[in-house]
């Protein structure tokens, strides 16, 4: 709100600068027009012409020329400021025309007033953007001031000095006229300086505002990151608690029951073997129920996508999403899948690839990861090769340990090395002829 107000003040001052200059130019042109008419009326033309170095313009031409040229200058300046022109050529041809009309205005009033130059300078400064325009700005200003420099212009442009007009009047009136002229010039300077100060201030504030907004944005981002981390931690804790409860409720319950039943069986084994056999059957039932419960729990840990899609499809989807969310390019260079995999095996494969991608992104800052899956003699071979910074000191962190644990469950092996980035290679004896080696059956 305050900024808007300030910007309005600046543009208001700019308009005032134009208005003031317009009035001054009109007054000077009018003064010359009237003086020339008075000179003709009072038969003083010959003595007026005597000291001149050029033929004066006819009086109406002075007025018309000054007003028209100033009108054009104002129009151009308006288009320049309000038109929001981005095209470099258009913008600079506008400035060139502004300078031409500025010179025309000054020529019309016989260079008696050079305040118009400041108008063009104001436009130049307002439209100033960046370094490459600095030379242009300086050159334009220099040229304008050279033109406005009275002595030089009088030589080249055949000027009737305003003093010649003054000399028609009595010394007292001459004094007043000179004073008025000086006041106009000084007032114009004051307005110009004020305008420049306001403009610079306003631009400074704008810059500061953008800077502070940027800082706020950064702070908010950092906070969001912390939140995300915390949410992740909380979810992990919740999941752990749930698992603990689950284990306690199902496996704990079943094992407690089995332990108690086996104790009883030990006691009754000799006295009543039949009864014990019955009891053992019951215990087996309990153990079976326990296994079912554990399975159910494990099933709950399976990724959702694996419930809906096949492993390759789920992996493709996951990698696509990862690609989209992190910008890291993921390329499948080889895909040879075993004909069928167990659910837990699928989970392990899925998690290995997921974890590998996460590591490549988080620790390796890789831009590209190549994945190859193939069936080898030793089993299923999964290779993830990234182009990241690698790892100078390979200490199996959390991710790698997890991976190793998972693979160990399936009697597989995990290799990793720094090789043009970081490479993870997992060999799991599953699929094909190794199918039976995992001693766990459904």
């Amino acid at each position: 709100m305050k900024d808007l107000h300030r910007r309005q003040t600046v543009s208001g001052l700019h308009h005032f600068l134009y208005g003031f200059n317009g009035v001054v130019i009109f007054l000077i042109a009018g003064f010359m027009d009237i003086t020339q008419k008075k000179i003709v009326q009072s038969m003083a033309a010959r003595s007026f012409v005597e000291p001149l170095s050029s033929v004066p313009w006819p009086s109406q031409q002075i007025l018309l020329g000054a007003v028209c040229a100033f009108g054009c200058l104002f129009g151009l300046s308006y288009v320049y400021r309000e038109g929001k022109i981005r095209n470099f050529t258009v913008k600079y041809s506008l400035i060139v025309f502004e300078i031409i009309f500025c010179v025309l205005v000054m020529r019309s009033i016989n260079m008696a007033y050079d305040g118009v130059v400041l108008l063009v300078v104001a436009d130049l400064v307002q439209g100033y953007e960046g370094k490459n325009q600095k030379i242009l700005l300086v050159m334009a200003m220099l040229a304008l001031y050279i033109i406005a420099n009275y002595n030089l212009a009088a030589l080249q442009m055949k000027i009737v000095p305003i003093e010649a007009y003054f000399s028609y009047y009595t010394p007292m009136v001459q004094g007043v006229l000179k004073a008025v002229c000086n006041i106009f010039t000084s007032l114009n300077l004051v307005i110009f300086v004020l305008y420049m100060t306001m403009l610079v201030q306003s631009q400074q504030r704008e810059k500061e505002r953008i800077k502070s907004l940027n800082a706020q944005l950064n702070a908010a981002n950092a906070q969001l990151r912390t939140y995300a981390f915390e949410v992740e931690r909380m979810a992990e804790t919740r999941e752990r608690n749930r698992l603990a409860r689950e284990i306690h409720d199902t496996l704990g319950h079943a094992l407690t029951g089995i332990a108690a039943g086996i104790d009883a069986c030990i006691a009754t084994l000799d006295a009543a073997p039949d009864f014990t056999r019955e009891q053992l059957k019951k215990i087996r039932e309990t153990a079976k129920n326990g296994i079912t419960d554990v399975r159910r729990s494990v099933k709950k840990l399976r990724p959702d996508v694996l419930e809906k899609l096949s492993l390759p499809d789920a992996l493709h989807q996951m990698s696509r999403e990862f690609d989209a969310s992190t910008g890291m390019r993921i390329v499948w260079i080889k895909e040879i899948w075993p004909p069928s995999l167990r659910e837990d095996e699928e989970v392990v494969v899925y998690r290995i690839i997921q974890e590998g991608l996460t590591n490549a992104n988080r620790h390796g800052h890789a831009a590209k990861v190549e994945i190859s899956v193939s069936l080898q003699d030793e089993g299923l071979e999964i290779i993830l090769q990234d182009n990241g910074i690698g790892c100078t000191d390979i200490s199996p962190g959390f991710g790698l340990r997890h991976m190793q644990e998972r693979i160990a469950l399936l009697k597989g092996q995990l290799f990793y090395a720094n090789q043009e980035g970081f490479q993870i290679k997992a060999v799991i004896p599953i699929g094909g002829q190794h199918y039976d080696k995992s001693g766990y059956r459904r």
Binding site: Q36, V40, R46, V49, P58, S59
Partner: protein, 440 residues
């Protein structure tokens, strides 16, 4: 709504286009109508301060002849502007931007208007137009219209200065009329002889000369008073010293008596410098009877100084073209008609008081007849003398401060010649003063 706005927008665009079109057609029509008018600036009366009859006769004849060649053009001039008002009138016209396309330029105005660019530079026209040859004209007349080496105005008529001789007085004193090669010494000798008290009442009543100025003496002694750029003067020149001594000698002969024009009119003065215009005006009837009936008189060249020749200044009336005229080609044609057409130039002899500026016109048989017809008695105005005087005439330097500088010099020299200031170093002082003014 959208349709309506679009229509409104179109209306404005078409309106502006139609306005611009109508405006340019009107502007073109006004320009075209102006193209058929040539305006001429001229003053009434003679440029040579002598009584004149019909001062527009030559111009009228030129206009008539011009319109026969360019029937579509109409040439106009404002009549009745007196010579003394003409400078102001012309300045006003220039200030208002309405100056005539072709105008007569007074010699006091020429330097100003040539320097500020009110006059068109004719050098270009002159070189492009093969029908215009500078050599047809008297060189001093062309030089009169030249400023900074460029021709800004064409000469219309010229007036050389000659020495008027009172033949009756010289005859009475048994002195022969000097020839055209006479010198200052002859001049001073004759003056000494004729200056006397004829009535023997103790007061001088017969004199040698009247109105002979130091400027005329300087010209005939070959003094160059100013550097060509007008920034330096040479008043301390030894030739100038001779001039001052000569002027002092002349003055001493009269024993302090100030000769008046009345003495001259009564036939009591032997010599008086006379312009050709005055000769032309007062020699024929009726002026001859009215003014100089008591004696016979004639004109010869000015006496030559020890370092100079029998030269004098020639004054020229110029015609220029406005630099802002829209009809430059036709204005040039009219200028040529006025200054270069032999028929029109011949009219100057009968209708005006000056001398044509074309050599062939002056030296033609017709001119001799016109001059002879107007010269009764035994006047013997020799055309070749006239033509020689014109050909060799000295043109005053052309720079803006000339008039003012000469006024200063005249003032200073008058004091020196009249003995108000001691002579010993006066010329050096005068030169310094004038240089200071010129360089200011």
């Amino acid at each position: 709504m959208h349709w309506f706005q679009k229509r409104k927008y179109q209306f404005w665009v078409w309106g502006i286009i139609v306005l611009i079109f109508v405006g340019s057609v009107l502007f073109y029509m006004v320009q075209q109508s102006q193209k058929h008018i040539l305006r001429v600036g001229i003053f009434a009366g003679s440029n040579w301060n002598v009584p004149a009859g019909d001062s527009y006769a030559v111009l009228d004849a030129a206009i008539q002849s011009f319109q026969e060649e360019h029937p579509e053009m109409s040439v106009r001039y404002v009549s009745g502007i007196k010579k003394e008002d003409y400078a102001e009138w012309l300045a006003e016209q220039i200030l208002q931007g309405t100056e005539p396309d072709v105008f007569f330029v007074l010699s006091d105005d020429f330097n100003l208007y040539a320097s500020i660019g009110a006059l068109e530079d004719l050098s270009v026209w002159e070189t492009e137009d093969t029908s215009f040859q500078e050599k047809d004209y008297y060189a001093p007349a062309i030089a009169y219209g030249t400023y900074n080496g460029k021709l800004y105005a064409l000469p219309f008529e010229s007036v050389p200065t000659l020495m008027f001789v009172n033949k009756t007085l010289l005859h009475k004193e048994k002195i022969p009329v000097p020839d055209n090669n006479w010198t200052w010494q002859d001049f001073v000798d004759i003056c000494r002889k004729v200056t006397k008290d004829t009535q023997e009442n103790g007061i001088l009543d017969q004199f040698g000369c009247y109105d002979y100025t130091w400027q005329q003496a300087a010209v005939s002694n070959g003094v160059q008073l100013f550097r060509t750029d007008g920034n330096f003067s040479y008043f301390a020149d030894p030739k100038m010293e001779e001039v001052v001594h000569f002027m002092m000698d002349l003055r001493a002969i009269n024993h302090g008596y100030n000769v008046t024009s009345r003495d001259f009119d009564m036939g009591k003065v032997a010599f008086r410098p006379f312009t050709f215009a005055e000769y032309r005006t007062y020699n024929p009837y009726p002026w001859r009877i009215k003014k100089y009936a008591a004696f016979e008189w004639d004109c010869i060249k000015m006496p030559a100084g020890p370092s100079g020749k029998n030269l004098s200044q020639a004054d020229t009336l110029l015609v220029g073209m406005s630099s802002r005229t829209k009809n430059k080609a036709l204005a040039w044609a009219l200028l040529k008609k006025l200054c270069g057409d032999p028929e029109i130039q011949k009219l100057i002899l009968s209708e005006s008081q000056g001398l044509p500026v074309r050599k062939d016109v002056v030296e033609s048989k017709d001119t001799r007849q016109i001059l002879l017809k107007d010269a009764p008695g035994d006047a013997r105005m020799d055309i070749s003398v006239l033509s020689e005087a014109m050909e060799d005439a000295v043109v005053m330097p052309k720079f803006r401060k000339y008039t003012a500088a000469m006024l200063m010099a005249d003032n200073g020299l008058r004091k020196i010649i009249e003995g108000e200031v001691p002579f010993n170093n006066a010329l050096n002082k005068l030169q310094k003063e004038i240089n200071a003014y010129l360089q200011y």
